[in-house]
């Protein structure tokens, strides 16, 4: 028999070759040497770091799962939970904006860090829901629905967006303010725009979302903001 090739030597490491190959490997010093090299490499292969899940994890999964077992599948990602946090965010933003207006006066009990954390969390929440809206729109099919949910969500996001944009700008956070500017233009267009049955309108909207990689930027900023907020 001829010598084993790289593929056979590699698969032998996993025990995925036939008896004939294994026999050759035992008898042929040259192949054994090459196999040893591969074995060393694969033995030393970096371990895949998987986040830990403790003993209670199974129960947590089950608790999350249980309410869904009877429920019907969702039409889309746009459902109640995309709509509800708006209020909470608005309160947080109003709170923060108020703080900012009197930033020179020290408010006892609330640290600057706590305030910033609230803002960042509200911001990341806002960006996340904006992302969902943009994804929904990017996949919307003309005439399939009237984009009612999308428009309602856009309307609530517009108000929130304006507050956040102003807050970011007055805090000197230009990258975020600029992104929120871009986002606001699209949100306003969706909120005021005609219903989704006109393909041309929808296409124009999609083009708008795609220009400047808006969705991508929102996604990155959302992740960054969340991370920053968690660090505080």
């Amino acid at each position: 028999m001829t010598h084993l090739d790289e593929e056979q030597l590699t698969l032998a490491y996993y025990g995925e070759v036939d008896a004939e190959c294994m026999r050759h490997l035992e008898e042929c010093g040259e192949c054994r040497l090459r196999h040893e090299r591969i074995k060393t490499a694969l033995d030393n292969f970096p371990d895949f770091p998987v986040p830990e899940r403790n003993d209670a994890y199974g129960r947590e999964v089950w608790n999350r799962l249980l309410p869904q077992l009877a429920a019907k599948p969702r039409r889309s990602w746009l459902n109640w939970w995309t709509m509800t946090p708006v209020l909470a965010s608005l309160i947080a933003i109003a709170f923060f904006a108020g703080m900012l207006a009197q930033r020179n006066r020290q408010i006892p009990g609330i640290s600057a860090e706590a305030r910033e954390r609230v803002l960042l969390m509200a911001m990341s929440d806002h960006l996340e829901r904006s992302e969902i809206l943009l994804v929904e729109l990017a996949h919307a099919v003309p005439g399939e629905n009237e984009l009612k949910m999308e428009r309602a969500l856009a309307r609530s996001l517009v108000t929130e967006n304006r507050l956040l944009r102003e807050t970011a700008r007055s805090a000197g956070d230009e990258p975020r303010a600029a992104l929120l500017d871009d986002l606001e233009r699209v949100l306003v267009a969706v909120a005021n725009g005609p219903a989704g049955e006109n393909p041309a309108d929808l296409d124009a909207l999609k083009a708008r979302i795609q220009s400047n990689d808006l969705l991508f930027k929102v996604r990155v900023m959302s992740a960054n903001t969340l991370q920053e907020g968690r660090k505080l």
């Binding site: 790289e6 593929e7 590699t10 698969l11 996993y14 995925e16 591969i38 060393t40 490499a41 694969l42 030393n44 292969f45 970096p46 371990d47 895949f48 770091p49 998987v50 986040p51 899940r53 994890y57 199974g58 129960r59 947590e60 999964v61 089950w62 999350r64 799962l65 249980l66 869904q68 077992l69 990258p175 795609q210 400047n212 990689d213 969705l215 991508f216 930027k217 990155v220 900023m221 960054n224």
Partner: protein
């Protein structure tokens, strides 16, 4: 009472939600591990755990008990993960061409702070592993993750991927070659 997997699956099939709960609690961690290894993303993995059990629940009537419940579930999890990876890839391909303006923007907003351990050698290898895995085709990556990290047999992997055994073997081999090359600068794994 301690149910065996097959007894619990049988009970669940007859409509006993509690029995299904036992299976969920028992297998959640291994499903999470697989999903994380497949997607390399914690949130995606969490979503996939939910999706896997939801699908399993809906398809319980198809589970005939000939294979172990764990194996059956595993196949569902692997397929869900694969679907997600494919969907992501399609979406990425539709919008991969970043303008230079966006790249600049990224440079401005991204401010990574290297922690000491990230600079350590083991950290370096681990941080190289992710992009290295990302370079593989989805077939290669799945086959490799299932074979190398999850210890699954080639037959099963071929079944999950819906390919011939030889194709699965070849994918594992290609993955090993590419990864050894990618990790060469920092690890003793070079070809």
């Amino acid at each position: 009472m301690e149910w065996t997997d097959s007894a619990a699956a049988e009970q669940a099939r007859q409509g006993d939600q509690r029995a299904f709960g036992v299976l969920v609690e028992r297998h959640s961690r291994s499903v999470f591990r697989l999903a994380f290894r497949m997607t390399q993303n914690e949130q995606d993995a969490e979503d996939l755990v939910q999706e896997t059990f939801l699908k399993a629940y809906k398809q319980l009537h198809r589970f005939d008990g000939r294979s172990a419940f764990g194996t059956w579930l595993y196949r569902i999890a692997a397929n869900c993960s694969l679907d997600l990876i494919r969907a992501r890839k399609n979406r990425r391909e539709r919008q991969t061409t970043l303008t230079s303006e966006t790249t600049d923007w990224l440079d401005r907003v991204a401010a990574p702070d290297p922690s000491p351990e990230r600079l350590a050698r083991s950290g370096q290898v681990a941080s190289l592993l992710k992009p290295a895995l990302a370079q593989l085709t989805e077939l290669e990556r799945t086959a490799f993750v299932l074979r190398h990290y999850e210890g699954r047999g080639i037959e099963e992997i071929a079944g999950v991927l819906g390919v011939q055994t030889n194709a699965a073997k070849h994918s594992v081999f290609r993955a090993v070659q590419k990864l050894r090359r990618a990790l060469e600068p920092v690890a003793q794994v070079a070809p």
